[in-house]
Amino acid sequence: MQSGIRRATIALVVGGVLTLVAFIGTFFWAAVPNFGFVRVPEQVESVRYVGPFQQEVDEPRYLTSYVDHTVTVVADGEEYEGRLVEVSEESIVIATDTGDAGAPQTTIDAADFESATVTGFEYGRADWGQKIFYFHVPVAEISFLVFGFAAFYSLRFIMTRKREYDMKARISMEVTLTFVTLTMITGILWTKAAWGVWWDWEPRLTTYFILTLLVVAYFVLRNAVEDEERRALYAAAFCILAFVDVPISFFITRLIPSNHPVIERGGLEGPMLVTFIVAQIGMIALGYAIYQLRMGEMLLKDRLETAKTRLEG
């Protein structure tokens, strides 16, 4: 039992350090992918500079997002070049002499508008919301993994009827519940950032929600059975049945069209991959630490009970 606590402490320290390293790596090292672009009229210094752009516009209302850009407007057969000052439903105002504040302005009737060419500079827009990936994915994978252990111990329990396997299965399920909750929290935050909604009934999210319900149901079942032997057996049987949802949830994004992103083979490189793996190992260590700590607590409780009965008897 002493060794269990020692192992838990080591795992806790290792997991904590690795998670911290992953945290630092996530924020200062790993690249952030672009999502979408920002267009500005003048070039500014930025690491995310993409290059100049040229955009053809065929309706005046699309010009509203390009105020201050350099435009060439063709209206009524004539060409006007300059800085776009104002766009309204009736007219388009252009400062023909670019750069000078007091430059002469030309007003073009919007009804005469034929086409326009806008030029400026384009920058990548960092997708900061993606940073949560380094925590969400490891945590989710470990929730599947620990559920697997719980199912394995449940199977062992049914085969051997040893109390220790029931305890291991139960503690594994507790760890699963912790990680499932973490996955849900990080996932919901990401969904809000990336999709603009808190929840979507999308295949992966739905199956994972079902998984959450199954884990909760496991504890509901345990609490509803009085007899200890029976409780252990019922819980083990249910755990094995419930495990069927794990492969479904894991593979569903690869089987049916889904909005949930999937990491493809070779999709991660360099700093991103290293950070991801560090986070993954850190989370495994943390999960193991929680498991061992709970285990130590349970064994201690057992010893206390035995001592109590012995004192009374």
Binding site: I210, L213, L221, Y234, I240, L241, V244
Partner: protein, 216 residues
């Protein structure tokens, strides 16, 4: 036994009729452009799943109250036989109730209009495949839940999440059969594959676990 059969059928049939009443209230607010056929598959399976839960619970509560299960376990019959006997019993009840519910649903909500131009003959196929899964897993879970405090709630808590893959496939397949057309047919067979795959895996798992559960 005869008496109990009648009582079970009556209560399950009435329950599904009551579900129809609830549907009517729920759908009464729908606008004029609403076509009940679009969501008929979902409504039907909703009724089946809740009715089956009622039936499963009752089928084992009786046994427990009257000590039938103990008597069965004492008798020189293999436990897998008991499992399959119970599954088939529950399956027959479920199929009878489904056969009764379908015309009632059509009568109340479609008022004589054709349900669809689709391949309606395929609907019984889904019903049978889906009911096998419900009866198989349901029997195992009900055997567990009758020995718990708060039987009905525990059964619902265990049953509905576990049923999710089957329900999804069954609703997809039924909806496709109602809609008809070549595109729907591929959706139908995908749904059927889900249901049958689920049936096979879950029946085997339930069969394997029943022996341990029923003896406890």
């Amino acid at each position: 036994m005869e008496l109990r059969t009648k009582e079970m059928l009556m209560s399950m049939g009435l329950y599904s009729l009551l579900t129809m009443v609830v549907y009517f209230v729920a759908l009464s607010q729908a606008g004029a452009g609403f076509d009940v056929r679009d969501i008929a598959a979902g409504l039907l399976w909703l009724a089946f799943i809740f009715t089956s839960m009622l039936g499963l619970n009752r089928s084992l509560v009786h046994e427990k109250d009257q000590g039938c299960l103990e008597a069965l376990l004492l008798s020189p019959v293999d436990r897998p036989v008991i499992f399959f006997a119970k599954v088939i019993g529950n399956l027959i009840f479920l199929l009878i109730v489904e056969a009764l519910t379908l015309p009632v649903f059509a009568f109340l909500f479609l008022q004589g209009e054709a349900l669809s131009s689709g391949a309606l003959l395929l609907v019984p196929l889904v019903l049978i495949a889906g009911s096998v899964g419900i009866a198989g897993v349901g029997t195992l879970l009900a055997t567990m839940s009758v020995n718990t405090s708060g039987k009905d709630f525990v059964l619902a808590m265990l049953f509905i999440p576990l049923m999710y893959p089957l329900l999804l496939g069954a609703v997809t397949a039924t909806g496709a059969a109602i809609a008809g057309g070549p595109e729907a047919m591929s959706a139908f067979w995908t749904g059927m594959a889900w249901v049958v795959g689920y049936d096979v895996i879950m029946l085997l798992a339930s069969y394997g676990l029943y022996e341990f559960i029923v003896g406890a």
